[in-house]
Symmetry: C2
Subunit: 459 residues, 2 copies
């Protein structure tokens, strides 16, 4: 006997939790489609040679390799030549780059794609760390050029997604890489030094301002104290609204050309967010956001739940200048975001913010007695034809146990039809949520159940 268990680091859900998860996936998908994004799915594995062109040290160490039994045997005999042929994707960005480069001539640009699949990372086993998790990504990829206007559309999509998910108020934190780099250059910090300083500043929340300042003016960096102070003052700028954001930016005074360009783009972006009807309470400039330093070149985004800052960013991304330089000579600038849905779902569940959903099954058609089996099947058929999700009780059991089963399975309505109900052309409905029980004419049954279902869903 083998103990049935999953590998560590995965989130496997019970059916009604899976229903809740699936509803989140559906909401995200329909929102992405409402904004004109097209679905893409890629294989779970890529050729190692293709997957590992771009990775640095840490990611490469987290890659899972895939080997057929044959390859494994060869390796065991020492016939091995380097890496296994294939590896599991560790994000959806590298597969996107490969996809766009491979199918470049069959795609219409700007190419707007969404992708919602699982990715794999050999994380250390730890509570809340997942080795398999869903990412839900959108990206817009241009050919040669891509207007900064697409960078304004992205926060509007983020807003729509989390509004529809209904998991509480949230704030989209915005920063602009050009502002950041422009400001740093204005302080005499250029090139590689920018990345190093930014990495320090990114530790503000963890280490505190005094410790970060000490590091910046210390031997390694050797910044003048007044420069360190200006950097810290800059990264403290966090607006809480639309006009406020622009005021604070304007108050920084004129800067380098790059800084001015960033400010112009950000100003245009805020205007577009307004035209798109994104409430001002939902976004804020936060000049301390410093993610993907080597990769992003324009807007960067992080999203936090107002009531749960401890969860960290639930949706992040930004603008990049060249998606697929390893695979094609075409220049493919883009902008995109990623929602780590498995981690988000897990954290919402931990915080008591999601629970097992009601069953997708609307009705259990009970089995009154052995003689009414065919009547039950015909009734089930009619209810399904009307658009209801129906389970039919097939095994003879006491009615009480049938109600018990429906209750346990999260099915709200039980319909019973037998005895004289068959002759009278009626059925009895029991609503397990409210406890009500009533008789309905057979002809009205489907409509009555549909109305109750839809009223229940609206609540």
């Amino acid at each position: 006997m083998i103990k049935p268990r999953t590998p560590p680091g995965v989130l496997e859900l019970l059916p009604r939790e899976q229903v809740a998860f699936q509803r989140m996936l559906d909401t995200i998908r329909s929102t992405f489609e409402a904004w004109g994004f097209l679905p893409v799915e890629t294989p779970v594995f890529e050729l190692s040679e293709v997957l590992l062109t771009k990775t640095g040290g840490e990611t490469e160490r987290q890659v899972y390799f895939v080997q057929s039994t044959g390859a494994l045997e060869k390796a065991a005999q020492g016939d091995d030549a380097g890496l296994p042929e294939m590896a599991l994707r560790f994000d959806l960005t590298v597969p996107l780059a490969r996809y766009v480069a491979e199918h470049e001539h069959q795609l219409a640009f700007p190419f707007r794609r969404y992708q919602m699949q699982r990715v794999y990372r050999g994380e250390r086993a730890q509570r809340g760390r997942f080795r398999e998790f869903y990412q839900c990504d959108i990206d817009v990829i241009g050919k040669d050029t891509l207007s900064p206007r697409f960078e304004a559309e992205v926060p509007a999509v983020i807003n729509a997604v989390f509004e529809r998910l209904g998991i509480g108020e949230f704030t989209i934190q915005l920063n602009h890489r050009k502002l950041l780099r422009g400001f740093f250059a204005g302080q005499g910090i250029d090139g590689d030094a920018q990345a190093l300083v930014l990495r320090e500043i990114d530790k503000l929340d963890k280490r505190g301002e005094a410790a970060v300042r000490d590091t910046l003016v210390g031997e390694g960096f050797g910044l003048a104290p007044e420069v360190a102070d200006r950097l810290l003052a800059f990264s403290r700028i966090r607006s809480t609204g639309h006009l406020d954001a622009l005021d604070r930016l304007d108050a920084l005074g004129p800067g380098t050309e790059l800084f001015e360009e960033g400010r112009r783009e950000l100003r245009a972006l805020l205007g577009q967010l307004h035209a798109l009807g994104v409430p001002e309470s939902r976004y804020a400039i936060n000049l301390s956001i410093a993610r993907g330093l080597d990769y992003y070149t324009g807007m960067v985004y992080e999203t936090t739940l107002d009531a749960h800052p401890e969860i960290g960013s639930i949706c992040s991304g930004g603008r990049y200048d060249d998606l697929a330089s390893h695979y094609t000579r075409s220049r493919l600038p883009g902008v995109g975001i990623s929602i780590g849905l498995t981690r988000l779902f897990w954290q919402l569940r931990e915080a008591g913010l999601v629970e097992a959903a009601s069953s997708p099954v609307d009705v259990l058609v009970a089995l009154f007695d052995e003689h009414s089996l065919h009547a039950s099947l015909e009734l089930s058929r009619a209810l399904r034809a009307a658009g209801l999700n129906v389970e039919t009780q097939l095994e003879p059991r006491k009615l009480g146990r049938q109600f018990q089963y429906a209750d346990r399975a999260g099915i709200r309505h039980v319909v019973v039809r037998g005895g004289d109900e068959l002759e009278r052309g009626v059925a009895t409905v029991k609503d397990l949520r409210s406890g009500e029980q009533f008789e309905v004419a057979l002809d009205d049954l489907a409509d009555a159940l549909l109305a109750r279902r839809d009223a229940g869903a609206a609540r």
Copy 2:
């Protein structure tokens, strides 16, 4: 520069093919839910120890193993002890068995689950053979017992799925393991010999009747010629309808107790299929169906497209007596089927029966000129709020090129609003499918587009 390409043996789709594929997945899912099945997803990998309890030789040789970088390095240093820790699932049945055994006490039985995920097999690279493919499974699992009535529900679900998929007429081939075993026993063939003889009979289509008969009466089997003839006559029984099926079965005369039991169950099943409204043209008894000999114990199913027999079975399964004997002492009988959707989609595409779907994007809101950007964004917002999927043209381009883009991307409607249209409160709609172009009052625009979309979808 690395050549962007997928590993061999995967089916990667262009976005509009992916839309068509996604619609098939959605149809299957909603049908499964209409019949009261609940969603389950399991991790792509299982512990090797858990996954490989049940497999025989061939499947085990097709398994893909998964190793982290660390484990790979250890193995290279000879610190290896046996199989890698994890392997990719090769079907959805073993993960189901593990899932039900693991979560047994949290599930309501009979447990009805559907699962639609990809599975992995190291098939030899060959056209139409996939190493990664979707399976769409349903199973009903009982605790201790499961009524044969569930075996009648399954063909009704198969019927509903393929009716809704609309890929042409189909026939569900039915056989009953008890009929088969009972008949064989009546001919003096028992135990292991049944499996061996059945395996021969399963080759009828490939080898022809004469060759199979030769083998059966030859040295290996040594059956009497008249027994071989009776077996072949039995396996030739293929009904084309409801009453016909029963007549032919009755004409076989009385048999062993097991045979009679199978006949009783089959008779009851045909009555239930009738009550469930499954058209008689959609199913047929076919006593040559012999799949999963060691596994199935009651009804077995195969489904073929009437116009494309060459595709083979597109949906198969059956009744089994114990799902998870490797993982639990509980007896878990069940019945289930599997649709190999990737292979089916590929074959339908090869046969010209599916094509790239129209875009899920209903409308492209064109950009008339630079001054109308915010008007475009506001219009897009209003159309989205009405339930339309909208892409907004953000980059300035000639209108002709915007139409060209929409056409290429499969977007049916383009809405233009600029110049005096802004003042007059109207917009111009161009339908790229019909070529029509007309003006609509802004207040009526969303309704007009929704009506055209829904009329288009109904066609």
